[in-house]
């Protein structure tokens, strides 16, 4: 019997405090967030085949651990107003500077790469949200 790690970052439930739910993100924004960000910044990672290869799995787990500590979109609305605003500001900056998604992540997950249109869509919505909080 093969040992399967039981502590994968997976969850069926999307809580009310999730940023997409709580702030009613439009479809295209929701898609981009889930596709390019949620693997490391939520409680539900789409592992695909990555968890089958140990070294890749370990690197991913580390990214997920650090990613969630810094920002977990599933819990976003539970952060204080102040913290939400700070995070949104950081997110915009990281996207603009191509610092996120991580290059190593983009290599393994080509569909996660944000092109200029994607970035504009995301940043526009996040700016609006930041100003409204």
């Amino acid at each position: 019997m093969q040992f399967i790690p039981t502590n994968l970052n997976q969850s069926d439930v999307i809580p009310q405090e999730d940023i997409i739910n709580y702030y009613k993100a439009p479809k295209e924004v929701a898609f981009l967030l889930k596709n390019s960000c949620y693997d490391c910044h939520s409680d539900n990672t789409d592992y695909q085949w990555f968890n089958k290869i140990k070294p890749i799995f370990w690197v991913m787990e580390n990214h997920i651990k650090e990613g969630k500590e810094d920002l977990n979109f599933n819990e976003f609305a539970s952060y204080s107003r102040r913290r939400q605003k700070s995070k949104l500001k950081s997110i915009i900056s990281q996207i603009e500077k191509n610092e996120m998604p991580l290059k190593s992540y983009n290599l393994m997950h080509k569909s996660a790469i944000l092109d200029d249109t994607d970035k504009t869509i995301l940043i526009k919505w996040i700016e609006k949200l930041k100003d409204s909080i």
């Binding site: 204080s80 102040r82 700070s86 950081s90």
Partner: protein
């Protein structure tokens, strides 16, 4: 090393181009101030313990006055303010390493801040401020200088909000630079009236103006 040489050269050019004597004098006084700050930092743990035991004594004493309580409260913010100023001065000097060290200290001081003795509402606000500020401090302690300066924008706002509740023994100046923060403008707190810009350092040392005295 190259970067240091470049900044030193730029700083030299800048100083050379400023013809007033008072600028050179101000630089001397800033260095002296920096030295005193460093000395006080060595004793900071000792000071903290002293402050804590002083506080216990005044709590037990029956002759406690209101002014004592206010004095104690604003003393509490002093460590936060002084480590913030160390960080600010490191950024002014384009010293990313020193900024990281100061930010690490600031993180510890923020986490150790005692919010008891404030109203429930103030405690909640203080908790939020400290949580946010310490996250920024954490990032600053482990980032290149551009990133450090980005986080310093919001950290400075947090400090202003904190001092609005807790007060500050030291007189501070709230300065503003309209070009910082991607031209959206940013504030910082300074212990001196003279403008020394932490967002641009030697590139634009004197850019900005005093908004108010705190």
């Amino acid at each position: 090393m190259k970067l240091l040489k470049l900044s030193m050269n730029m700083l030299a050019i800048l100083l050379f181009s400023i013809t007033t004597i008072s600028c050179a004098e101000n630089k001397k006084s800033e260095n002296a101030h920096h030295d005193t700050e460093m000395k006080s930092n060595d004793g900071h743990n000792h000071e903290h313990n002293e402050a804590a035991s002083k506080e216990n004594n005044s709590m037990n004493s029956e002759k406690m006055e209101n002014s004592d309580i206010i004095g104690q409260d604003s003393k509490k913010s002093d460590l936060i303010v002084s480590t913030y100023l160390q960080l600010k001065n490191a950024l002014v000097a384009d010293d990313s390493k020193e900024a990281a060290v100061a930010a690490k200290d600031l993180f510890k001081v923020l986490k150790g801040f005692d919010i008891t003795g404030f109203s429930k509402e103030d405690q909640k606000e203080l908790m939020d401020i400290i949580e946010d500020a310490s996250e920024h401090a954490e990032h600053i302690s482990d980032s290149p200088i551009d990133h450090q300066r980005e986080h310093f924008v919001t950290l400075s706002v947090d400090l202003v909000d904190l001092i609005a509740i807790v007060g500050s023994e030291k007189t501070l100046y709230q300065d503003f630079c309209p070009m910082a923060n991607g031209n959206k403008g940013a504030i910082w707190l300074s212990e001196i009236k003279e403008i020394k810009n932490p967002y641009f350092g030697s590139k634009m040392l004197t850019c900005g103006s005093v908004q108010k005295e705190i």
